[in-house]
Amino acid sequence: MRVGKTIDSSLGLAAVILAAGLVFTSCTQNASSITSPRYALVYGIKNYLADPLTYTVADAQSIESVLESKGVPSVNMIEREDSAVTKAQIKADILSLSSVSSDSTVIVYYSGHGSYVDASWGSYYPTYSGAYIAPYDAVSSSGLTGSTISNLISPSEFESWISQMGTKNVIVIFDSCYSGGFIPSTSSIDASPSDYSSMQSYSAFSTAMSNFGSLLVANASASGEKTPIVLSACGSNEESYDGTTAMGHGVFTYYLLKAATNGDSNGDGYVTMTEAYAYTAQCIKTWGASLTSSDEYVAFLPHLSGGIRDLVLFTN
């Protein structure tokens, strides 16, 4: 019968196309293993001359150890602590990677103080505004002063150094206060509140619907140029938590370290930045909810930069 042949043919064609697609996808997705070089710069500052921290050097040491066991050769790793972590040194380390191959991945991790200079500081430091990280030499025994403030590192300074690297595959992880300020603006909106007092908007889907027009405009104006994938311990207007004795780490880094072994949600042998973010965020939600019935713990939720691209953080 004609109809039988027609329908059989249509279904057959569809089945062939779908099967071919699945086979193609399967081949494409399973064929790759990471062969490109991987580098890491790891910094931890605990013994500031004023306002010392507790677990930040332990954070850096553990991150170094985990990265070494999860895909970054020790020869490609620089780990610095305390007084060795100056602004000039960080810049020099980053620029030393200007000649790495374009398919390399560079991971930059920092655990230490962050600072937020707002309008109330303006009369003292008129050229400073927004979120910064504070290397060792940005803090004197009197704290942040006029003679040390120039050693703060701003997002734009950091971005300009990063842009001189030989690769665009750059991962930035900051466990410091106000580190969300280092997340570059892209075509996406981060629905996580940068300040927990505004958390009523905490839904990516409803944020997408309510900002539909502006997101379409942002999408249209995006260049597609690769930007660093940034994971921060908190929002641009929040403080991170230096951790507890039981953790021995800052809260964010404590769960990030666990993500290295438990965060591979799709079982492909890799923990991507998105997987690390999702695992860490979920653990912090659970931890926060066990401490208090209020929602204040959302101030300690990590933030992730947007874009369609993701990068592998840990390999297994």
Partner: protein, 213 residues
């Protein structure tokens, strides 16, 4: 959790859309003193499609992602065989594989809204069974989406090409424009300077709204 939220929202959109379509159909066929069965120019349908998208950009790897689309459609058939079609639905894609330098494309999901038009070809009669109705549709879509497992929201436009073959069986479902169909949609998405081409295969069912006059 966010997956469920987006799914629930998309499902609500679909239900609301179907209700609106039914109301539109009912309004088009208000009863009069002499009842007569009429075929309205409106039809509603539901489609489930699978996709295998390819995403690429300058200086980025070309990787594929599997996707799923659940769509409710409302179609108005003009007298000149030119349908006008509205679609709303849920769309979701899994993350891609990983390139040799450790890059991947993120999974995403969201609500998709499309406006299509095209041409309904003359039906092919199938002796003893019914009619095979072919259509070619094209149009644009916009999607409000989130990257799965993140708090990142975004939106993107796309263009859609959709050939469709509907089988209207004699004496079943009560109308010559009602029945199951197969579709081969292809969507080109413009995503923040990157491109995703998603060919797919879909199965659906269309119901031509019948009124009483």
């Amino acid at each position: 959790m966010r997956f469920r939220l987006a799914s629930a929202a998309a499902f609500c959109c679909v239900v609301a859309f179907c209700c609106m379509a039914s109301l539109a159909g009912a309004q088009a066929a208000l009863p009069s003193l002499t009842s007569q069965r009429i075929v309205t120019p409106l039809s509603v349908d539901f489609t489930a499609s699978g996709f295998d998208s390819v995403t690429w950009a300058e200086d980025s790897p070309t990787l594929t992602q599997l996707g799923l689309d659940l769509t409710a459609g409302l179609e108005y058939t003009t007298p000149i065989s030119m349908p006008i079609r509205l679609e709303v639905g849920y769309i979701g894609f899994a993350s891609s594989g990983i390139s040799s330098d450790g890059e991947q494309y993120r999974a995403w999901q969201g609500a998709r809204f499309a406006l299509l038009t095209g041409y309904n070809f003359a039906p092919l009669s199938i002796e003893g069974l019914g009619k095979l109705k072919l259509a070619l549709l094209a149009g644009g879509a916009v999607t409000a989406a989130e990257y799965t497992d993140t708090a990142l929201a975004y939106a993107y436009p796309s263009i859609v090409l959709e050939p469709r073959a509907l089988l209207a069986l004699n004496g079943i479902f009560g109308g010559d424009d009602t029945g199951p169909y197969i579709t081969l949609p292809t969507e080109l998405m413009f995503r923040a300077g990157n491109y995703s081409l998603a060919p797919g295969v879909g199965l659906g069912f269309r119901y031509r709204i019948i009124g009483i006059n």
